[in-house]
Symmetry: D2
Subunit: 286 residues, 4 copies
């Protein structure tokens, strides 16, 4: 089931600049590129930087002597989300042994989980299993936070979102992460291409580490859970920005296109969570 | 030149709990353990967790059915700080290629560098070389922030410190890091044992990535720069806590002892930075 | 029903200083002083400052050439809280006409109501009458915020309390005020002496302007509502501090004593709100 | 020297709403209206609310059954700023006796002066006289804060401005006020019409209470100090908003026009502060 992905980032420049972009989906066993290209117009040499251990694939461009720039990505990916049995393990009192998981328990720039200890306990502390807690957090986000385009900005943190009760996908993810970590559930931020997101845009969601795997959660309920093609993972948006800029450059726009062939309304639908819930299942992205 | 290190952490408990502690100095070519032990009283099995790529050596204890606990660390380390020529490379417009360095450019919980873009540029933007910028930041911290025990708490961020003009070593380090990152200098937080720190305590400082190495900076000027035995490195205090607690446990105190044999007042002195400056040198911890 | 009030504030000094204290209960028709004295030891001349329009009675001492100071207040007051019928008027779309009420609709230092617009609407927007809204806010505070001595400090705002879910009387009042103002209910902060508060201390609560009068609310449920002897009113704690200090002076302690003669367990009880609710009444302080 | 003032506020509505507007200049001995009118289109009855003790003249409109609204103000005022000798009194250790001045020493929503104690002392504590301190604060604002349209929003406080080093007139005023209060100088916020402000807009500045009068300061240096026609005064922007809205209404724009007859380039010039400084004078608005 191939997804065809395309994204264009547009910039204006007044001097030398660098762009660090995160447009290439990460690669894993379940998510493979059939074809892929990333280039700039005017053309500059891309430098690929792959960040271990999660294989985020960043690309750096150093540019100068231009006034306008377009970064163009195009790829075709096979990506198969995996439905797994809902995790049932009991609540942990402890820190995970896996050193790769540990950092996702600590507070970060936009998910300052240390500030949420009390409120997370009060809202979700009585729930038995960690999976049920994470699911309850996803539900709470959907029911309590209004998705409102333009209601937040690049400085908005989970604290703001909790208070202001509005935000975009990024804010939903940060608040979900902060609440999970406050309950000692390792949680991380993902960026993704998404099929059937209207209007087309990059998407963000969060993953929670349960029974040895990272399970997908998304409080926006705007997208089919199994239609995400993961780009990058990180503590929060601070380390998974689609594009970081240095120097004399400003963004002037972007375009995103995600196709599936054949166009499929059966396989992908927004209320896929309900179906998973009925089947006592959870979703794991490749 | 062996340092003898000892630390004791004391806790009270009212139920099962977990402690994740970071008491063992990290090991590297220039910092080697002659002997070392980490144990708890009452005795529980320690689980060692080594976090790549920086070899932070964490230890987890899971405890229950006790009311009091002491974690006891003791070690003898050879650690040789290296004086190197002051870096002279010009200011970068770009992001570093090394994927291990990249994360230290992004804002973190206690060093939200995105908020310091303007002020960092105004205060230090006119300085030519990155090393001179980092040095100017260290000087600025010493001249503008009052070291005042008890003036901050575990929620204090670099924003608070910048405004309130007071803090402890942790706060000096966070503000230094935030200012560096705002200037596109990768910067990270370190915890350390420190010889001749009065009163004896854990210490925190920051490192800046210049010319391919992490150079040490410390705006407190409270300690001899070459008397630090590095324990752990991370984005900020959120991921290098001496001890993180989960469950029914509170801290009741700690003791730290650092000896050098022979006791040496010649090799270690607070104004070692001045000597380095005179010699046009910088310090790199092992 | 006379209340006998006594308070002592203790200070240490290292130079000239000024204290602006708010220890004298405000006077009104329903709250009259039988006797009253306010003095310092060593003795300095007090300057009385009465702030219109609410008759807060402040006292300023300018002191020098001393190392220790005690401010001593003692008074006997007749104060009769008034039970009135619960206000039933419908929700206002508008701003109040009374210029004295208007300022209590606007955000203040510790009650930044502008930040609570959404959350107040979601939690209490569906409630019909303003009085029922204010009562629901009082209930919500009691049910969701933990009274925990030492859990907040002088910088804590309603935003912090909403997130951290803990605080002292001051914090309960600020959050109540912020939520009321966000719903366009004028709300103000009061300080008070309180009979049967354990341990004895100054108390804070809030008043909401409904049907032309200021009705008392207190989310702590720690005190008998009708046992408050009002000292001062203001936008928030910023302008009703028991003591504001200038110069070389620090607080070293305070003592508060409130007696009623005869000692009365019948007239005053913590769950007086329940009784008011049963009777469809509200309380107005003199 | 008559100023002709005109302002139009435009709104869209989707239901009943109220507007509380502050468009009429306050009246005082030195600032008198020759003619004046305030009306709405479609026409609704205005309710005048005059807030003592500073004579802010607010107007409330309650509107319904309309989709668009324009509030139109027009007036001709004689307003004479007064140049006075620069105050020379020594630094106060104490609180002012005047109860009307006292509130302007306390922290407010956008000028949380309690957070600026240390930094104000470090930057301006060494300056001898309060007037010189206030002048130094005005200079510091001009030199350190960039006037940048769109760089702040309605939630921006003096803390943000101090850190971000950019803002608009409102932010300059708030930071000036916070710094003054932290030095125990009573300071308040004013809104004003301003002749020769480019582009035409409402303006904000601050006043400091020295030697018994409120002296004008403005860190933006964008306007002739003696060309301000004061509208309202208050603790900060929270209580001097040009328009506060309640109900189903959003702002869609505004227009401001300020004329002087004859058009005068001689009497009004931006660097009027320099001239005052040379003459050892200060400016007091009527």
């Amino acid at each position: 089931m191939p997804f065809r992905l395309q994204s264009n980032l547009y910039y204006q420049l007044t001097g030398p600049a660098a762009i660090l972009c995160s447009l290439r989906p990460h690669r894993s066993e379940g998510q493979r590129a059939r074809e892929e290209s990333l280039s700039s117009n005017p053309e500059f040499a891309p430098l690929e930087i792959e960040v271990a251990p999660f294989s985020n694939r960043l690309t750096r461009f150093e540019v100068s002597n231009i006034e306008e720039l377009c970064i163009h990505y195009e790829g075709v990916f096979d990506s198969e989300a995996e439905t797994v049995e809902a995790p049932t393990h009991a609540k942990p009192v402890s820190y995970p042994e896996d050193p790769e998981v540990l950092p996702f328990l600590f507070p970060s720039r936009y998910a300052p989980s240390d500030r949420f200890s009390q409120v997370a306990l009060e809202l979700f502390g009585g729930i038995e299993s960690p999976f049920a807690q994470a699911l309850a957090i996803e539900d709470w986000l959907f029911e309590n936070i209004n998705y409102l385009y333009g209601s937040s900005n690049e400085g908005t943190s989970a604290e703001d979102t909790f208070l202001q009760r509005q935000g975009v996908c990024r804010d939903f993810a940060h608040l979900g992460i902060a609440l999970c970590r406050a309950l000692f559930l390792p949680a991380r931020y993902i960026t993704a291409y998404c099929y059937q997101l209207e209007p087309q845009d990059f998407h963000a969601a969060f993953e929670v580490y349960l029974d040895g795997r990272w399970h997908l959660f998304d409080g926006t309920r705007l997208v089919p859970l199994n239609a995400l093609i993961k780009i990058a993972v990180g503590r929060d948006a601070a380390e998974t920005a689609v594009a970081s800029l240095s120097g004399n450059i400003i963004s002037t726009g972007m375009e995103i296109y995600v196709y599936h062939e054949p166009e499929s309304d059966e396989a992908f639908y927004r209320d896929f969570r309900d179906e998973l819930r009925d089947r006592n299942q959870s979703l794991v992205l490749p």
